[in-house]
Symmetry: C2
Subunit: 138 residues, 2 copies
DNA sequence: ATTAGTGTTATAGTTAGATAGTACACTAGA
DNA sequence: TCTAGTGTACTATCTAACTATAACACTAAT
């Protein structure tokens, strides 16, 4: 694992979000064991205390469960995971739309821009053999 | 003026972005005078040193120009402003799309979600008498 | 009991961001 | 010249985040 850190945001928050994304996207399944404090610390070259804080916060959010002496595991409550997914998606969405509006873009502009960005990516995908012919016309 | 501060991001960066958004959106025009260090500090209840740092960074980015003893002014180079707008919009867009993809959403999902969010807002606007009949149907 | 791997706690030190307070330098205008 | 308003600079202090290091507690396996 490796993360591109943004100096302007606390590391423990960035690692938290990284793990939450892995869970929400299904890369980490409910009940899966997550890395130990020391293991992840060594992996990311981060101090174990910082990882410990990360995990404590994740536990406070009920995203992971701790079995002392054994390790930490992704929560088995799928409803909790869905809730987190909705929350994270909602935050991204609001941040984007509100932000674009503040920059002076109109709602219709925003839709168009997203369509175009996605179309550009689909173009890249097609070259890699992605079976989707649509181009999301403007 | 008032800003909702996010504790996880340095204040000086948040104020920077706030001002850049005002410029990019046209709320502050090229050549306009921006508040003085002490004025903005009092207004936002922030230490003058922090505002000074904010302004220094804005100047480093050539967003504002300083006339010592007189005050600070929005740059007159509209091309610079357009560049900043594109940069900020591009960042928002990337953050959003990349973030949604990491959460497990497909490109087509993302477009749909944005369309729906925008449609919901248009609905609100109509009740406030906004003269735009479109509903951005899905 | 011992060992290895896990979570947990604690102390000390560094750094960046923010604050508080003071002082100095420049400009326009009375 | 004097004053008010501006930018600028400096020192000191505080706090959160992070690091370095060490120690302790729990669990499973031997």
């Amino acid at each position: 694992m490796s993360i591109e850190f943004d100096n302007n945001l606390p590391i423990y928050l960035q690692i938290m979000n990284h793990i939450k994304r892995q869970i929400v996207s299904g890369l980490l399944q409910p009940g899966d064991k997550i890395p130990s404090v020391r293991e992840l610390a060594a992996d990311l070259q981060i101090n174990p205390n910082t990882i410990q804080r990360t995990f404590q916060e994740l536990e406070r959010e009920e995203v992971v469960e701790t079995k002392r002496g054994l390790g930490r595991y992704v929560t088995s409550e799928e409803s909790k995971i869905m809730a987190i997914k909705k929350e994270m998606a909602g935050e991204l969405l609001h941040q984007f739309i509100h932000g674009m509006q503040e920059l002076g873009f109109k709602n219709q502009d925003i839709v168009t821009i997203v369509k175009e960005a996605v179309a550009a990516e689909s173009g890249k995908d097609r070259k890699e053999g992605h079976p989707d012919g649509r181009t999301s016309e403007g």
